[in-house]
Amino acid sequence: MRLSRLALLLVVGVCFTPMPALAQTFVFGAQGEPVQLDPAVITDGISSRITRQIFDGLVRYRGSTTEVEPALAEKWEVSRDGRVWTFQLRRNVKFHDDTPLDAAAVVWNFERWWKSGHAQHENQVKAGQTFEYWEAQFGGFDDKSVVTKVEAVGTHTLRITLKDPQAPFLANLAMFVFDIASPRAVETSGTEFGKRPVGTGAFKFVEWKPNQEVILEANPDYWGGKPKVKRVVVRNIKDNSQRLGALKAGEIHAMEGLNPDDVAVVKRDSSLQLLLRPTNTTGYIAFNYKVKEFQDKRVRHAFAHAINKKAIVDALYGGTGLVATQFQPPSLWGYNRELRDFEYSPAKAQELLRQAGFAQGLSDITGEDGKKEPLIFWYMSRSRPYFPNPKEIAEAMAADLAKVGIKVELQTAEWAVYLDKRKNGQLSLYMLGWTGDNGDPDNFLCYFFCQPGASREGFYANPALADVLLRAQKAVSQVERARLYRQAEQMLHDDVGRLFIANNQPPLAFSKRVKGYVPHPTGSEYFHTVEVQ
């Protein structure tokens, strides 16, 4: 009898222990586990969301834009030829380990990223890490880099000399990868620095419980003002529905990675709010230019009129998608607002096909060797922000194409195989997309179109376009660059080089108690402005 009463008590106690109050803590639900917390060697959004709270860069993006504003550097100037940059660092800033932030510390960080012989660079490479973004944004390591000299010309004055002017230089420096780490902490921890990060940011690292959560606490001496919450907990909840469940149950305050179907659920719930990240991602269809039929511009043009982008965006993006007219998403300053997109018109598409000699429709294509084969439309096996439901989107497009007489066979491949075939130019017609890294148009356009005829771009060769893009990369004035990028988009559009389908604005869900969260196109947002009521 006594035993059963005890058991009953235990069960009741277990069920009704009150939830602890979370007032001073902001709990964010992430989609997975951070890789590590050393910003210099990571590339993923889950890790960088956390490092952005612990570290600062010389400059940062303003609000929800990709324009650059001061951070650890208060001001800067650039020489007339665009090669020498001088930064004035903010005074009285300290790393969380109490060492001072000065020009010497920043020089040390640059040398670590840039010089392959630097002890703290070499050990990372030996451990299998790479300074991938330094290589991508600054041309490579050592002599290959566009950076030729980084020096401290005063305790708080830093001078960086470049081989050639690099227009996206400041936008590059604002990326999370180039946030400044405490040299002493890196030297003490070595390759373990990613588990014990030390920066100057609004929050200090406290603890990382593997597969569970990362805990940060407010840095009361933060140069940008004291954070509004005392603690930040980033919880790892793998499953999208379960994460939404935790949000509804009040166990977390915010989450990313919402299923498109759940957007409506969040909108309906009076205790939740929905925020959208400004779009920074574009999904497209690419042609293989080795295919004889696709070399005829009228055929590509017919595709452009045949696909009903708006219907696809309305039906399959949960209300967070936008129709894309060009490669750059509208949030970029090189975006061409004047550009008139091809209208949806099956009649026009049929007319164009007729003119091109396909009055009976198009279902077979001719390869380089003259052999006929069925037209296969390759769709992605994985969901990405630009195509959240690749299969459904591909089916909708195939149905649109069928209406004008273009019959495609849908086919997919395991993600690695897909990327491999794409790289080798083996896909005749395929879907893919891009998510921007730094808000610079160069990051979208040049990666794809600066090497005419590359197999990974379906052998698309447009040297005039490449020329405009390379000029835009070197030009110093942003006004001039913007003009060149608008021109490039128009050229790409007029040639129907590729079909841009949709931009997506990744949705974030929040408890209504959260105020002050500013979503950013790059996905790395700051938590120090966040309040939990």
Partner: protein
């Protein structure tokens, strides 16, 4: 008996060798270049070559296997491709969470499954039996994934009486000694943490226990029915023993033997089920870890963990077989 034990133990060696070949081979069976999968859209040819060399994928396959097995024998499961941490250390740190969950689930399954099975057999074709069989059938065919989501939704989101996931509440400061949180909290006398840990354990354990519970209940029922029709049961009844004594002392003891085997076999299913259950409930054991590693294509972890799980399953089955012989003295092995 000793001879049997030795013989039975020796059969483990070829099984484990086979497992190692499978686990090693699977990285080469997946379509596509693992290096390319890891690098994704941004892969440059130089990067791919570099990663292939780092993973040793550029060597002949027999050489790769030789190197691999040599390391495994020395207890080296390699390092995580994504994070660079030693796989074995990470595995051992996460294993207690899985053991805790699996133990809770098996205790729940046995504690409920056997009585249900016995009741079902004793009151055969009664309403109790029909309900129990219906429930057992549903339990066996229920996808854990769906059940877990429903449990979390109902008890966590709608009723808000139990947490939807994790082992402890956010911000609980607790320094475990062994990573067996319930054991540690009990040893440290930290009752609030113990209560918190138990609250978090209820739903995942219930989800994970559903299938084994149903299987154990069905097995117990079948085995009991068989034993109850034996002549010595009639003799016992004829002697005038109470029904409870007949059922519990005479029938159940004999009926439990096949059930014991089934319980042993469930350990493998529990570890497999733990991958889904842990993912749904954000339970930081090896299941969630394996799931994340599959997603991030961390082949070293997937290989290491698969091998580890296989060793556990083989070991538990070996123990069950040996136990079987020990429990039932009538069984002779020659």
């Amino acid at each position: 008996m000793r001879r049997y034990a030795i013989q039975r133990s020796l059969t483990v060696i070829p099984v484990l060798l086979g497992v190692s070949v499978l686990v090693f081979g699977f990285i080469h069976l997946i379509p596509g270049d693992p290096a390319l999968t890891m690098l994704g859209e941004r892969a440059t040819p130089e990067k791919v070559t570099e990663v292939r060399a780092r993973l040793g994928l550029d060597r002949p396959i027999w050489q790769q296997y030789g190197i691999y097995i040599g390391r495994v024998v020395r207890g080296d499961l390699g390092v995580s491709i994504v994070r660079g941490d030693p796989v074995l250390a990470d595995l051992l740190r996460r294993f207690p969470a899985t053991v805790e969950l699996a133990t809770a689930a098996i205790v729940l399954a046995v504690a409920l499954g056997i009585p249900i099975g016995v009741a079902s057999a004793v009151w055969r074709n009664s309403i109790v039996d029909s309900l129990a069989r219906l429930w057992a059938l549903t339990g066996v065919s229920m996808p854990i994934f769906w059940l877990g989501l429903m449990l979390a939704w109902f008890f966590g989101v709608e009723l808000r009486v139990l947490p939807t996931g994790f082992r402890l509440d956010t911000g609980t400061t607790f320094a475990p000694w062994t990573n067996f949180v319930i054991l540690d909290a009990t040893l440290q006398g930290n009752w609030p943490v113990l209560a918190d840990a138990l609250r978090h354990l209820v739903l995942p354990a219930a989800a994970l226990a559903t299938i084994p519970l149903a299987i154990i209940a069905r097995m117990t029922r079948a085995s009991m029915l068989e034993v109850l029709s034996r002549e010595y049961i009639r003799t016992a009844e004829a002697k005038g023993l109470s029904q409870a004594a007949v059922v519990l002392r005479h029938a159940l003891r004999n009926a439990l033997l096949p059930v014991l085997t089934v319980v042993g076999l469930q350990v493998g299913h529990l570890l497999a089920g733990a991958i889904l259950t842990e993912t749904i409930f954000s339970w930081p054991g090896i299941g969630l870890w394996v799931y994340e590693s599959i997603e991030s294509r961390d082949y070293a972890i997937v290989q290491g963990a698969s091998l580890f799980i296989a060793v556990i399953v083989v070991g538990v089955n070996l123990m069950t077989d040996l136990l079987y012989a020990a429990v039932d003295p009538r069984i002779k092995y020659d």
